[in-house]
């Protein structure tokens, strides 16, 4: 028997090598470290350590404060994702129709994109400051007994508002370019067939935007899970009563502030699994409905 072999060129491997190295150094290696660390009880300075199987998991994951953070994370990321997508879509559709001063309008909406989450948090802090905050005064002036330093609902409102505001501009840019990518011929044909603009939007435009929407949903969930860290850290820091603590913020609190490496690693392994599961679910069930 003669084996058929094609000459393989090593060049493709060379091309993907940098990417593989980056993934290995910045993801695989730390992830492996976290998994290893999550089975150890080790003092902060690394002078003594013992292997304890799942003690770190049973101690920290499913503790009251972890469950509270998990609950808030679920509500928070759902609301942040939905609201920032919906608002951005509405703004993009409207901006797409503007003829006069379209440029100014679009630029203004995109501006916030350049603001980093901690900066957005600091701005929110000023606006909601109990002594000098304008929004704080406004809320109380309209009859809402607003006190985000003590009220869990009000505090959640503040962090969700800031997180959505920060993310809308990113989504807006993608939606706008998605809308501009829809061929004119399709739009014209639809206009001839149907007078109702709302119906036209839902039957023609929205399905054509589906790939963009799906992509944005994935990155928005990641944003809500991880990047909002900077907003939480500069505003509520999980207060009041742990009601605005997210899972990733808790990992930071226990590991970095509290020097509990094992407990923090166990939590981050669980968080990694949750996000992995969520991403798999999205691709299996939602992506099927997307037509490219």
């Amino acid at each position: 028997m003669k084996r058929v072999q094609f000459e393989h060129s090593p060049i493709p491997y060379l091309f993907i090598a940098p990417q593989i190295v980056i993934i290995a150094v910045f993801f695989l290696w730390p992830a492996a470290q976290a998994i290893y660390q999550s089975f150890l009880l080790e003092d902060a300075f690394g002078l003594s350590s013992q292997f304890v199987w799942f003690k770190n998991y049973s101690d920290t994951v499913f503790s009251n404060s972890w469950l509270q953070a998990a609950g808030f994370t679920a509500v928070f990321s759902t609301l942040v994702t939905l609201l920032s997508l919906a608002i951005a879509l509405l703004l993009a559709v409207k901006a797409n129709e503007v003829i006069h001063g379209a440029r100014t309008y679009k630029t203004t909406l995109m501006w916030a994109y350049a603001i980093a989450p901690p900066v957005a948090g600091l701005m929110g802090n000023l606006m909601f400051h109990p002594l000098i905050g304008d929004l704080y005064k406004l809320m109380n002036a309209i009859g809402w007994d607003f006190d985000h330093k003590l009220d869990a609902f009000d505090a959640s409102f503040v962090v969700i508002l800031i997180s959505v505001w920060k993310q809308v501009s990113v989504n807006f840019i993608f939606f706008l370019s998605g809308l501009q990518g829809i061929p004119h011929s399709v739009v014209e044909a639809a206009t001839m067939d149907c007078k109702n603009a709302t119906r036209r939007f839902w039957t023609i435009t929205f399905p054509l935007l589906a790939p963009t929407t799906f992509f944005l949903m994935v990155i928005n969930i990641t944003y809500a899970f991880f990047e909002t860290f900077g907003i939480i850290d500069t505003t509520t820091r999980g207060a009041p009563g742990g009601s605005t603590n997210t899972l990733v913020y808790k990992v930071f609190q226990d590991g970095f502030r509290g020097a509990d490496l094992g407990g923090s690693s166990a939590q981050s392994v669980v968080l990694m699994l949750v996000v992995l599961a969520l991403t798999v679910l999205q691709f299996r069930f939602i992506e099927r409905k997307v037509h490219y």
């Binding site: 009880l41 080790e42 003092d43 902060a44 300075f45 690394g46 002078l47 003594s48 304890v52 003690k55 101690d59 503790s63 009251n64 404060s65 400051h129 109990p130 002594l131 330093k149 003590l150 009220d151 869990a152 820091r237 999980g238 207060a239 009041p240 009563g241 742990g242 609190q253 226990d254 970095f256 502030r257 509290g258 020097a259 509990d260 094992g262 407990g263």
Partner: protein
């Protein structure tokens, strides 16, 4: 010609390199957590030390807040890149002291390299806070402060009150008058430190088993006691009556309320004095931390908050000698007096306190002495401090339940029993980790 010049320059360069190597002072790395004005004073101290001798070159580096500095130190130690000297705050003391071999006790360092060490040179309220259970000083207290009451003299005059309250009973008597004058009576900036840890010291109540945690890591927290619950029921009552203001967890938020004349009294740190002098545009005074007459007839002293300097292990003898030399310099009366005057932190040695007195500092600024007087008040069995593991997280747990008490989400009893079980779970984890 060109070549000649080049050679000459090269020879000159290598000669100067050699000479600088021969004269190079040993670098002593000091990581600290002070920014702003405090950071400037730290830099001044380093400059003064470097100007005073030429054997060592002290490099003071700001590493972020207390927690950031500790985290940076831990990461550096694990990578064997630790500084010689690191500033660790009160709540992190158990973490570094229980990590056996992470530091060299300053008492040992000083007696070996600086010709002796006498713990009684240090003022009473300071000396044992960072010591081990045998009373050996492990970390050198650096920025030491204690909780005080600040009051707005204008507000008091407006409400017709002559003196600041010395007890909480007196506070309850004057709070309605202040409210009538348009002020919230009281706010404070650190409920674990002021309303829990120092509450126990002031009333001489044990706060944890195992000698407040100094003797062992296998300990239980005792915050769930009747005195604490009584106090917090009262605070909640004051909040509901509009006598107490809560402006958030951040230290500054509550201090701002005092500076902006929303509240008439504020419990802060003796180290806040300097800042208030600059920011408050009204006359204010400082007084002792109030106590409950119903719990104790004669209040005990408080203990310190702030941070200490720890000498990290794994350094050469030469560098350790430099650390001891710098600590000797730092604890000299005139340096301590300088630090005290510039920052409002208390001087940590008796000699420095005497110097400040004889210099007439307290005649011109009597309020600056309140903190050290309070620290020098008679001590009791439970006033030397506490040593509890994962205390950063325990403070978070406490904050969480204090929030719930304030918002009415939990009763005082429920909040304290939850606080007790969650804190004990953390202490158990710490014990399992560090033994």
């Amino acid at each position: 010609m060109k070549l000649q010049k080049f050679l000459l320059a090269g020879a000159f360069a290598s000669a100067s390199l050699m000479s600088s190597a021969a004269w190079a002072a040993t670098d002593i790395q000091w990581w600290h957590a002070h920014s702003g004005r405090l950071g400037e004073v730290v830099s001044e101290i380093a400059a003064k030390y470097n100007a005073s001798q030429s054997t060592y070159n002290l490099v003071a580096t700001y590493k972020g807040g207390y927690e950031d500095t500790m985290t940076a130190g831990i990461a550096a130690f694990r990578a064997k890149q630790q500084p010689n000297l690191i500033q660790i705050f009160d709540a992190g003391a158990a973490t570094i002291i229980n990590a056996k071999g992470a530091t060299v006790p300053v008492a040992d360092l000083m007696s070996k390299h600086a010709g002796g060490f006498d713990i009684t040179d240090y003022i009473a309220g300071v000396r044992y806070f960072y010591a081990d259970s045998d009373g050996k000083m492990i970390g050198m207290p650096f920025n030491s402060s204690t909780p005080l009451l600040y009051y707005n003299k204008d507000a008091f005059a407006k409400a017709g009150i002559a003196n600041p309250p010395s007890t909480w009973e007196e506070l309850e008597a004057i709070a309605p008058k202040l409210k009538e004058a348009g002020y919230t009576a009281l706010a404070q900036s650190h409920s674990p430190w002021i309303f829990s840890e120092n509450f126990h010291s002031r009333h001489n109540i044990q706060l944890a088993t195992g000698n407040n945690g100094y003797d062992s890591t296998d300990v239980k927290i005792l915050y769930n006691n009747d005195h604490m619950k009584m106090h917090w029921s009262k605070v909640k009552e004051w909040l509901d009556k509009g006598w107490y203001g809560f402006y958030g967890r951040a230290w500054g938020d509550n201090q701002d309320a005092f500076v902006q004349k929303k509240v008439a009294m504020w419990l802060g740190s003796s180290g806040s004095f300097g800042g208030l002098t600059k920011s408050a545009d009204f006359k204010f005074g400082a007084s002792f931390l109030p106590y409950w007459k119903s719990i104790i007839a004669e209040p005990k002293g408080t203990f310190i908050g702030g941070a200490a300097l720890f000498a990290m292990s794994g350094k050469s003898e030469e560098e350790n000698k430099g650390v001891a030399d710098f600590l000797t310099f730092l604890t000299q009366p005139d340096m301590q007096y300088f630090w005290h005057k510039e920052t409002g932190y208390v001087p940590i040695t008796n000699a420095a306190y005497d110097l400040a007195k004889s210099d007439g500092y307290y005649k011109s600024t009597p309020d600056a002495e309140i903190g050290i007087q309070q620290l020098n008040q008679p001590g009791g069995e439970w006033t030397k401090g506490y040593r509890l593991g994962y205390y950063v997280q325990i403070r978070d747990v406490m904050y969480k339940h204090f929030d719930d008490i304030f918002s009415g989400k939990a009763s005082v009893d429920d909040a304290f029993s939850a606080m007790e079980s969650e804190s004990n779970a953390l202490l158990e984890r710490f014990h399992a980790t560090y033994n």
